[in-house]
């Protein structure tokens, strides 16, 4: 604690018309030498709920990748432009005076109406815009509200590993116990390694459920694997939720990003599941506008009302003009869902090409990528590169060291997959690194350049692994 006491001379600098009093520091502390901090430190400390939750992979890695000379394939942030009509709608809204004041707390009326119309196309039931939809501060806020509203101290929540990193701290902050189950891969054999090779063992999954299980968190399409859960897998989860009377929190932010041969299925549409599922969506991932920080939760009123209670005690409302622009963008696309021009169709087409390019690129240097069926990330086992990491910090997982080394020496950033694991499972995933491919071609070109040069350097040192000349194929 600093030994610092500030002395103030009360001098009034009255600016013309200004009503705020200025006080000036005249004597900085250090010469005075006595402390108020030792007494202060005992009481002004954090609440127990955030104990141990202070470290965050993003804070650490976005700082490292912020260097403009680094090609950033780390954080899931598009560097492509959002669609023109989305930008235009926001631009139009910026000229409307009366969209600058508070709107309805649980969601701007035109937005909840648009969301209701959109999702009624995907659900068998009607969706009441006021009672069954909540607009939140991004999907992050949606998850937070759902967990705070529905998860109690002493509850257990099942989380599949790897998991989007906020699930664990949010569950812990609610005083609940996360119960982890790893996705496990079967051997890919001759075929390319696919995210669909990673599955849950049904007996193992059932063993995680008990009378204390309040919920299971599902993420499909999955970050970081890119797995798109199949009908059978969702039926298994649904059967267990019903058997153990548990809730399902379904994080479907990448719902539109599924690639050829795959279909996104909503667990809330399965028999017996609407009443026990809350489904999370994201404007950021839907329209490539992560900075708008708008998300939504859809579910039955008896669940949504608790998330709404949390909202009225946390942020109360979300930003009005952004909600209006989002509503307008949704209206445009929901009217043309079969049209190739609809962003829900055009974006996955655009990304599938980028995915395939990344797969080819990673393979070309002897890496083993797991081809994602959905989402905009691809993970690869980097251990075959056998990089010398002896200079890096000792007590960190392999992939943390690898990524930091790669940022420093190759100017390429990614995210270590063990960041998506709990402490016990980190070792199972520490050879994997996650690359984000929702990037413009010039970014991917730069990444390609780095990787090709790296490979050349390795071959010059005789380290090159046999380069496979396989081209990406669609029959994965």
């Amino acid at each position: 604690m600093r030994n610092e006491v500030s002395m103030y001379l009360a001098q009034r600098f009255r600016f013309l018309g200004n009503k705020t009093k200025f006080l000036t520091t005249i004597c900085s502390s250090k010469t005075l030498g006595f402390s108020t901090y030792s007494k202060m430190s005992s009481k002004l400390k954090n609440a127990k709920r955030i104990e141990g939750l202070d470290s965050n992979v993003w804070i650490e890695f976005t700082k490292l990748a912020a260097d403009p000379s680094v090609v950033n394939l780390g954080q899931g942030l598009p560097d492509i432009s959002p669609p023109t009509y989305v930008k235009e709608e926001l631009s139009k809204v910026a000229f409307v005076d009366n969209l600058n004041q508070y709107t309805r707390g649980f969601g701007h009326p035109s937005l909840v109406k648009a969301l209701s119309c959109l999702y009624e196309k995907l659900y068998p039931n009607q969706i009441d815009p006021n009672k069954e939809i909540l607009v939140t501060v991004g999907a992050y806020g949606s998850l937070f509200n759902a967990i705070q509203g529905l998860i109690d101290a002493g509850d257990e929540v099942i989380i599949m590993v790897p998991f989007y990193d906020c699930y664990e701290p949010m569950v812990r902050m609610a005083g609940a116990t996360p119960v982890f189950i790893p996705l496990r891969s079967k051997a890919a054999g001759e075929k390319k390694w696919s995210s669909s090779d990673w599955t849950l063992d049904s007996q193992e999954l059932e063993s995680k459920f008990n009378s204390k299980t309040k919920a299971i968190i599902l993420n499909t399409p999955h970050n970081p694997l890119g797995k798109v859960y199949t009908k059978e897998e969702l039926q298994l989860i649904a059967r267990l939720c019903i058997k153990y009377d548990a809730l399902c929190i379904s994080d479907e932010v990448y719902e539109w990003l599924v690639y050829t041969g795959n279909k996104h299925l909503k667990i809330a549409t399965f028999p017996g599941m609407w009443e026990r599922t809350v489904t999370v969506g994201s404007a950021g991932k839907t329209f490539s506008v992560t900075g708008w920080k708008l998300g939504w939760t859809i579910g039955p009123h008896h669940l949504i009302k608790h998330a709404q209670t949390v909202q009225q005690n946390t942020v109360y409302t979300c930003t009005t003009p952004l909600q209006e622009a989002l509503a307008q963008a949704l209206w445009i696309d929901l009217k043309r869902m079969d049209d190739p021009e609809c962003y829900f169709n055009s974006l996955p087409k655009e990304l599938e090409v980028k995915r395939d390019r990344m797969v080819h690129l990673l393979e070309s240097v002897g890496l083993k990528p797991i081809v994602p069926d959905g989402g905009y990330f691809i993970i690869a086992d980097v251990s075959s590169l056998d990089v010398d990491l002896s200079d890096m910090k000792k007590n960190e997982p392999y992939d943390y060291k690898f990524v930091k080394w790669m940022i420093k020496n190759k100017k390429l950033s990614a995210i270590p997959v063990s960041a998506f694991c709990n402490s016990e499972t980190k070792s199972q995933f520490e050879k994997f690194v996650r690359f984000c491919f929702i990037k413009k071609d010039s970014t991917l070109d730069a990444a390609e350049e780095i990787i090709k040069t790296w490979n050349t350097q390795r071959s010059q040192r005789g380290q090159c692994v046999t380069i496979s000349a396989r081209r990406p194929s669609k029959d994965l």
Partner: protein, 429 residues
Amino acid sequence: MARRLQARRLEGTEHNPWVEYVKLAKEYKDSVNLGQGFPNFPPPDFALEAFQQAVTADHMLNQYTSAFGHPPLTKVLASFFGKLLGRELDPVTNVLVTVGAYGALFTAFQALVDEGDEVIIIEPFFDCYEPMTLMAGGHPVFVSLRPVRCWSPSQDQDLDSSSSWQLDATELASKFTPRTKALVLNTPNNPLGKVFSTAELQLVASLCQQHDVLCISDEVYQWLVYDTHEHVSIASLPGMWERTLTIGSAGKTFSVTGWKVGWVLGPDNIMKHLRTMHQNSVYHCATQAQAAVAQCFEREQLLFGQPSSYFVQLPRDMQRCRDHMVRSLQSVGFKPVASQGSYFLTVDISDFKSKMPDLPGAAHEPYDRCFVKWMIKNKGLAAIPVSIFYSRPHQKDFDHYLRFCFVKGEATFQAMDEKLQKWKAELEL
């Protein structure tokens, strides 16, 4: 589903008084809405332009920015408020941007208030302080501001003043216990419009220091101060920076409540806990709104103290609105409590209570709520009953005040005056 669904932390927080009054105001479309606190005139041109620029400039502003605050915004907040508070503020360690001041309050409570902690709340209070304390497992301890009548021949007997609503020093001191974690201060105060004087702040400050208590200072209306009153930030008093979180709002500062950009200023050793909470709740705030607010502050920094500063113009214009409203409401028998600051005017309706004691309402419903419903239905004016800003046990002691918002445009004032003239005519019959 058979099991209990909601988490216990929601107990006592489900009911929100606004829902009812917002619904009523909408239902009676012809009514003049002087209830909810938001401006119904446009934001200043420079704010609209700032937002327009933020949404048409670099497309990367459509993506995530820094989690703890968009750098141009935290930079200008640190420099602007550093000058006001008389110390150098670091944009990274001393500033956190939040989803409105509401989000700032929530983040502070969750980061610092533990199960069983006591939180002193000065009544009347902005209604969210109580449920936020409860949701954090805390125990609210209330202490009331009370009108202290000073009799003097020169004073206008009809006009009480929010400055005469005071805390009793002994009573306040008695509320501090070893379990007191924080005190919530709101100056200028919503709903009274009271601007705490330096002496009053020094009383609060000395108790906070004596008992090693955190001060959460909600200063969203800091620019809305009238007459010769001055806003003082308690964090600028000796010994207080290290134990104070100062909360501000772009919405109230620039008349853009819908942007939902707020901030907290404080010492790093406390702010780091808010950062932890923030990164596990919303993580980022909307980029473009932050960029626009940064530009607004940059403009105000250049114009500070000058006649063209919004921080000079807005209070001057709102003071006129306040005075207009005071005169208009007096004409039908309301007794305004002169507001020193904020968006609000509180009026005493004791005379109405004695003349019309039995208005329709639920059993034990505080009089002011019955009156508000009657007034909206019969007189076409919407206001907010002040008892919603009191803890349940004290609501019956303060059931004879209404809160009106005067931060409204010309057309609203005209409509209000028409309704009041009609009301006055009916009284004279």
